[in-house]
Amino acid sequence: MAEASVITDEMRAAIGKEWAPITVEVDKTAVRMFARAVGYTDLIYYDEQYAKSKGYRSLPAPVGFLGHPIFRPDVPSRPGHVMPFKSPYSRVLNGGTDVEYYEPICAGDVLTATAKIVDLSERTASIGPMLLVTVETTYKNQAGRMLARFRGTLIQY
């Protein structure tokens, strides 16, 4: 690397430290809106009786839908977008997404999402030097069972 590293000791110290958990809700209208945006025609995402006939508790969440944080205008609402340190760059791009399911998430679920940074790395690409921040979020239901794990890589440049 020709440039000096932008990763400070403070940033490195944040790796592995869990952020305060947040609550996310999975509701029927949100499942339908998400499924519609992706173009699904499978009725399990739209018709609750049909979903139940296929063995689901309610409308299942399509791949990539992990509920919505409860919006409050006085609280940052998107986990993964509020870093525990000040970024040296002002612009962001999504670098990658990895979602693993252990059990289906369904409408009606209220999940606890706990995030932490698992990796920081630097790279120089066509758009210039970039910092890659990988955040892992686990989603547990009210019984404490882990239903899904999300890993997102945010590119700051």
């Binding site: 998400f34 699904y40 791949v63 670098g95 990658g96 693993e100």
Partner: protein
């Protein structure tokens, strides 16, 4: 949904049916609402160009979700999508086709489940792979 696919009927190296979705500005706005991602580079051309982009770009997470749909539609009612991972290596510009594809890399049995691993990706109409990744699904068996 198409006819149910079974574990015994698929082979390593086999490509699964592709999915093509034109990511119109309307779809990107629907995605913004559905996902809660309101970053302006996806629907405001002036804003996008102000950050150095040529035009509005398709959300990476939408491409991930489309790959999820590709797998969901392939595994059918009795299959399950267990994992979808992809990297956003190349940009897809608004109003272009996103073509989702997958190829089986491994079949195995784990904890009583019939697991199929796939290489998945999206490509442009010109054949440029912009979103490489991997998928894991389970399929029903004809024996059960």
């Amino acid at each position: 949904m198409s006819e149910q696919v079974y574990f015994e009927d698929v082979q390593e190296g086999q490509e699964i049916p592709s999915l093509t979705e034109k990511c119109t500005s309307q779809r990107l706005v629907m995605w913004a609402a559905g996902s809660g991602d309101f970053y302006q580079i996806h629907y405001d051309k002036d804003f996008a160009q102000g950050t150095g982009l040529p035009n509005c770009i398709t959300h990476g997470a939408l491409k991930h979700a489309l790959v999820g749909r590709l797998l969901h539609e392939w595994v059918g009612d009795q299959g399950r999508v267990k994992r979808v991972a992809c990297q956003y290596r190349g940009m897809d510009i608004v109003n272009q086709d996103v073509i989702c594809r997958g190829r089986i890399t491994k079949k195995s049995q784990q904890d009583g489940e019939n697991i199929v691993e796939l290489e998945v990706w999206t490509e442009t109409a010109q054949g440029q792979k912009t979103t490489p990744g991997t998928g894991v699904v389970s399929l029903p068996s004809r024996k059960q």
